[in-house]
């Protein structure tokens, strides 16, 4: 005879949720290592040199140190060219050369923003493809379960008929 199941059912209990959050917190603060999801693995761990470079560029330009240093340099530039006494003023008011330098930065920042955006949309594409694969797999499992339950119902009905025949 089949024994009653003694194992606890597999579902996300409170302990499991805490474990998941703990792991996520670790991954959150230490990126680019030890990914579990195949799309993350493909995107971060199997990226090409160009892709890594694009990620680095986006990470450096899109960071507080970059923004703060840029601000400091700008303020210093304007200060030196207006009030400095012992240094030659290389770009007096209205700071046309500063304008060129900043335009240069903006000219490169635009394409790098798009580079990062393209990479993200590529990731989104892979994510959806992976989700479609996974949902196929889930559907197969559900079909199997359904077939099994139908079989079970059929057997139960047979038992019912047997019992009715016995009683009648």
């Amino acid at each position: 005879m089949a024994q009653p199941s003694t194992q606890a059912p597999v579902s996300l209990g409170a302990d499991d949720k805490a474990r998941v959050v703990h792991r996520l917190r670790r991954v959150h603060r230490a990126p680019a290592t030890d990914h579990k999801h195949p799309v993350n693995q493909a995107h971060y761990e199997d990226s090409t040199f160009g892709e890594r470079l694009a990620d680095r560029a986006a990470a450096v330009i899109g960071s507080w140190p970059f923004i703060i240093s840029q601000t400091a340099l700008m303020v210093l530039w304007v200060y030196v060219n207006v009030w400095a006494i012992f240094i030659q003023h290389w770009d007096p008011y209205p700071f046309i050369f500063l304008n060129l330098v900043l335009s240069f930065q903006a000219t490169y920042a635009g394409p790098i923003v798009l580079l990062a955006g393209n990479r993200q949309s590529q990731k989104d594409r892979i994510t959806l493809e992976h989700a479609a694969d996974e949902s196929d797999k889930g559907e197969q499992h559900i079909t199997k379960i359904l077939i099994e339950i139908k079989k079970n119902t059929e057997l139960t009905l047979q038992i019912l008929r047997e019992l009715e025949a016995e009683g009648g």
Binding site: M1, A2, S5, P9, V10, S11, D16, V20, V21, R23, L24, R25, V27, H28, P31, H35, K36, H37, P38, N40, H43, A58, A59, I61, G62, S63, W64, I67, M74, P94, F95, L98, N99, L102, S103, Q105, A106, A109, I112, V113, G117, Q120, K123, D124, T127, E134, G138, H141, I142, I145, E148, N152, L155, T156, Q158, I159, E162, L163, A165, E166
Partner: protein, 158 residues
């Protein structure tokens, strides 16, 4: 619709009320720098910012070109205004990347969470399947048992 109502309540949730672990980590546990980055991105990317910027540009050009105003600091071709635009663009780019990086990080975190949940859901599905298979086996045995009993009874009657 019920789902529409639940989206409305989800929208009203603010800091420290998030239910999804990714939102909890990403928004509720954000560092000061991350919070300021979010504020900067949502500030620049708003109609208020665009409207105020447009008004300021219009005032700047009007004051510096219309005869009526006496105090002019940046006459045609508005070189200082050009510098102001450039400074805005020079900061918008990095802030855009800052917020993009943050969004990419959230996407990464969300996928990791999905992988964790999918793993246990997969296990649960397989367990359901094996449990049903066990049930079928047991039912089959019951059926055989009944058949045997009826056959024995029938034999006795015959």
């Amino acid at each position: 619709m019920a789902s529409q109502g639940s989206v409305t309540t989800a929208r009203q949730r603010v800091a420290r009320q998030h239910k999804h672990p990714v939102n909890q980590l990403f928004h509720d546990e954000a560092t000061v720098g991350e919070r300021v980055a979010d504020k900067a991105a949502s500030g620049i990317g708003s109609w208020w910012f665009l409207a105020i910027q447009s008004v300021m540009i219009a005032v700047w050009i009007a004051v510096n070109s219309v005869e009526f105003f006496t105090h002019k600091w940046d006459i045609y071709p508005f070189i200082l205004l050009n510098l102001a635009f450039t400074i805005q663009a020079a900061f918008t780019g990095p802030v855009l990347l800052l917020s993009g990086n943050r969004q990419a990080q959230k996407d990464r975190l969300r996928l990791e969470h999905t992988a964790e949940v999918a793993e246990s859901a997969d296990k649960a599905t397989l367990e359901i399947l094996s449990e049903i298979e066990r049930n079928t086996e047991a039912t089959l045995k019951v059926l055989e048992h009944l058949k045997k009993r009826r056959a024995a009874k029938g034999g006795a009657q015959a």
